[in-house]
Amino acid sequence: MKARVTIMPKAGVLDPQGKAIGHALGSLGFDGVGEVRAGKVIELELAETDPAKAQAAAEAMARRLLANTVIESFRVELA
């Protein structure tokens, strides 16, 4: 079972990378782009076959290591 963990800077946390990307898009002539936020995606291949257990395991991994919940939020999706 595959789990995809999406990690994003929390609302209110400065995201200079997102800002720089937004600025670059503007200078390339792409109009109408509002706020840009940059995060990361981590894909996990899990031996677990039970979706509820896989979800719980991936969330535990995200809390313990993959995300720093002081500055980041995360979302787990199973595939």
Partner: protein, 232 residues
């Protein structure tokens, strides 16, 4: 004073730290590899030096915070031990949950390699005893992720309980936005734990401890620590 410097793969400032500690204490610190599970017997001070532990993978300090030696450092801290984290060491202390907050990418996205000035916001601690309250000193800094962040509540607690050790300032001691090159909240360069035995800061006082280095501005940090254990 028996000091131990922790070395992770990618740590690169351990020798600078060893020179500063030896200059202040006259004693060579122990170097401790990341796989160790125990600290040397009788350790007074653990130092997490600067560098790019584990290649800064995932987040600066995230991997090091989970390493075997950090479990021993956590036990040492829980037992009232003194721990100093500089630069990557500060990031590791935050990632390990030993100090609050986190270090974000510098606001201007650039790696900063330059001198900065800091104002001593809390004198009279094991790390700052040899400075006067409000003293200004110079230190080199070299980091890409030194932008201190904490939520409003944590920030209010740090400010309110006097747990901010150092703030970025002008050479005249003014805490201004222009002196805050990495964009840290409230110009915070270094913080303390509530028991005042853990200290983390981004700049490198260990690199200014000898006239041959261009000054001795950083020496009070190390002589303060030495005094702490000489009087114990």
């Amino acid at each position: 004073m028996k000091a131990a410097i922790v070395v992770f793969p990618g740590t690169n400032r351990e020798r600078d730290m060893a020179i500063a500690l030896e200059r202040a204490t006259g004693r060579k610190p122990a170097l401790l590899f990341h796989r160790e599970t125990e600290l040397p017997a009788g350790t007074d001070l653990v130092v997490l030096p600067g560098g790019f532990s584990y290649g800064d993978y995932l987040r600066c300090g995230a991997m090091a915070a989970q390493s075997p030696v950090m479990q021993a450092v956590k036990r040492f801290a829980a037992g009232g031990g003194h721990v100093l984290g500089v630069c990557n060491g500060f990031q590791i202390l935050c990632e390990a949950g030993l100090l609050p907050g986190a270090l974000l990418r510098n606001a201007a996205l650039r790696f900063l390699s330059m001198d900065c000035h800091m104002r001593v916001e809390r004198a009279g601690t094991p790390f700052t005893a040899h400075w006067q309250q409000g003293a200004v000193f110079r230190a080199p800094m070299a980091h890409g992720d030194g932008n201190f962040f904490a939520d409003d509540e944590t920030l209010a607690r740090l400010n309110g309980e006097g747990l901010v050790a150092f703030r970025y300032c002008t050479p005249a001691g003014e805490v201004t936005p222009a002196a805050n090159r990495n964009g840290a909240r409230d110009n915070i360069a270094g913080i303390l734990s509530p028991n005042l035995r853990l200290c983390g800061l981004m700049p490198h006082p260990e690199d200014l401890v000898d006239p041959l280095m261009g000054g001795e501005d950083g020496l009070p940090l190390f002589t303060s620590l030495l005094d702490q254990f000489a009087s114990a």
